[in-house]
Amino acid sequence: MLKATNLRAEYGSLVAVNDVDLEIETGEFATIVGPSGCGKTTLLRMLAGHQEPTSGTVELGGEDVTYTEPQNRPTSLVFQSWALFPHMTVRENIEFPMRNKGVEVGDRVEELLEQVRLDPDIHADKQATELSGGQKQRVALARSLAYDPDILLLDEPLASLDYVLRKRLQRELADLNEELGMTFIYVTHSLESALLMSDKLFVLQDGDIIQTGSPEEIYRRPSTKFIAEFMGDANVFSLDDAVERGDGYEVKSSQFAQTTTVPYHYDADPEYLVVRYDDSSIGSELTEDLGLEVTVTNVLVRGNTVLVECDAPESDGEYVAEIPIDEFRDTDVEKGDAAYLQWDASKSILVPE
């Protein structure tokens, strides 16, 4: 188990990581997600030992490793740039950590290359610089696994790969995590990677962890407007008034055509109502619990669904409904028409600022 307590990193007067606490169970695939500059890489580097925290502690399996050098930590970091040794072959790169640990090499290089789905006969004796991006990524992963760490740390190693390859490697990483029972800590700014692979998510904003939970919890119940927006594909409405009614709140906004009661889970007063694109629908009549009048400005086809982009009269925001293509054809709504953007009250997510 990895446990960080009050971990803090300052660069001069800038606080990059602000007294963060986190706990990650053995074998878990944990993802630290946040926008660029939120301190996630600094946090990871402190866990790997490449950066000393200003204050706070890191414990691994009950042992304090806050100031242990990276050489002596049972962690291995897969760098964003992969950091293969350019003067060595693939084999030499992978043997490097084994030789440092004094482990018998034997057939391990071949095994590891197969584990990351590279053909040893073709790739083992290539120079590291001769590989493509995806292959370098796989070799970097194999090299870190060769170190046999308790915890594998990954610093957005997929960020520079193309979409298809990234998808495939994401799935492979998740499989590998299950297969090896090794703890993986992944750092990313991409929501998509975070949702797909992780058991547990930490959302980081300006050096603070603002929400922890499973991907589904965070997707369905974001605790702030920032998270709701960061998780993406959501319409955000500012509320004029919200009155507590039993289990939920009765929400009022001059934009909405009616008022409804919506469930709510947090202490702070709700100030925004969030609804995901794919929970929204569009129609010439108002049939759902909540809705507002809009003008359709654009219709974009995205595979099986269409994105209907709308402008609301008293607002400068743009709202989107993502609906199945057939359903949209049935509505007879076209670009330029006035229509209702609407959704089921239970799909509404209330969040504080």
Partner: protein, 307 residues
């Protein structure tokens, strides 16, 4: 029109090498080639021609050719005896020691500047570069004033009550002091640049994968900074072979190197064939040394890859 232009181009290019030289990419090299031909190849040929003239002349006599100067110079160097034996030993000793000293001093500094030091780095680099704006003569005379009898060092030493000051001038080690100081930047900068090209993450990855400090140095830092070491050593070694100001001023006529002896032959003794022969010999030594430096390090690299 287009087809006409193509035809003209093909004719101009043709298969004729001169024609190819005078069309766009080649023609860009012409001024440089002419310059090199006049200023490097020409004088070089003149030196070679003069080296086969009879001794003690400064005029070219097309009827008299001789290898007497070669017998004298090469003979002396091979047997290690006489003036030329001493001169060769001095020259090689100065060059090797200078290369070794500058390497030992520069390597850690280059590593620190490229990877560790961020504050005052520019200041430090400027301190290293600024002396290069000053003439070598001035800097070497500075050292002479510092070391000479009744000089700065003696006054300082006297202040501490030492009365017997043995001059530190006119020794082989004085010349080495001068060359080490003058050629230090030529070792430091190539190594610094090759250190800069090593990614910080490469070093971090090595540590992350359990490399000890010695492993990090031997298997990562050394092989990756090797190009800088080769280029720096080549620079310093070759420049030290030809270092004549240092030898003349700090050696002061009691220690001769090949470079200062060549100048002596051309100038003071007016024996151009003898000077030319030594110049040819120095050139050959330089070329051989260059090849050896490049080769040895290449072989080492292959050896370390095989382990």
């Amino acid at each position: 029109m287009d087809s006409l232009r193509t035809r003209v181009d093909t004719v101009a290019e043709g298969d004729n090498p001169l024609g190819r030289l005078l069309t766009p990419p080649g023609i860009l090299l012409v001024p440089m080639s002419v310059l090199l031909l006049c200023m490097f190849v020409g004088p070089m040929l003149a030196i070679v021609v003069f080296s086969f003239q009879t001794g003690n002349s400064i005029a070219l006599n097309p009827l008299e050719w001789s290898i007497a100067t070669y017998e004298e110079v090469i003979g002396g160097m091979v047997t290690g005896s006489g003036v030329y034996g001493d001169v060769l030993v001095n020259t090689v000793a100065v060059s090797i020691t200078t290369t070794a000293f500058t390497l030992v001093v520069s390597y850690p500094a280059a590593y620190a500047l490229a990877h560790k030091i961020t504050r005052y780095k520019l200041v430090f680099l400027m301190i290293l570069i600024i002396p290069l704006f000053t003439s070598v003569n001035i800097r070497v005379f500075g050292w002479a004033l510092f070391l000479v009898q009744n000089g700065v060092l003696e006054s300082i030493v006297n202040l501490f009550g030492v009365r017997e000051y043995a001059s530190l001038m006119y020794m082989r080690s004085t010349i080495i002091l001068g060359t080490t100081y003058i050629y230090l930047p030529f070792m430091l900068f190539p190594i610094y640049l090759s250190m800069l090209s090593i990614e910080e993450t490469t070093l971090e990855a090595a540590k992350d994968l359990g490399a000890s400090r010695t492993t990090l140095f031997r298997r990562i830092l050394l092989p990756l900074s090797k190009p800088g070491i080769i280029i720096g050593s080549l620079f310093v070694f070759v420049l030290s072979l030809g270092a004549n100001v240092e030898a003349e001023i700090l050696g002061g006529g009691s220690i001769f190197t090949m470079a200062s002896n060549i100048q002596y032959s051309f100038g003071y003794s007016q024996n151009w064939p003898l000077g030319s022969t030594q110049a040819v010999a120095l050139l050959l030594i330089t070329v051989v040394a260059g090849i050896v430096i490049l080769r040895t390090i290449d072989l080492q690299e292959i050896a370390s890859r095989g382990e």
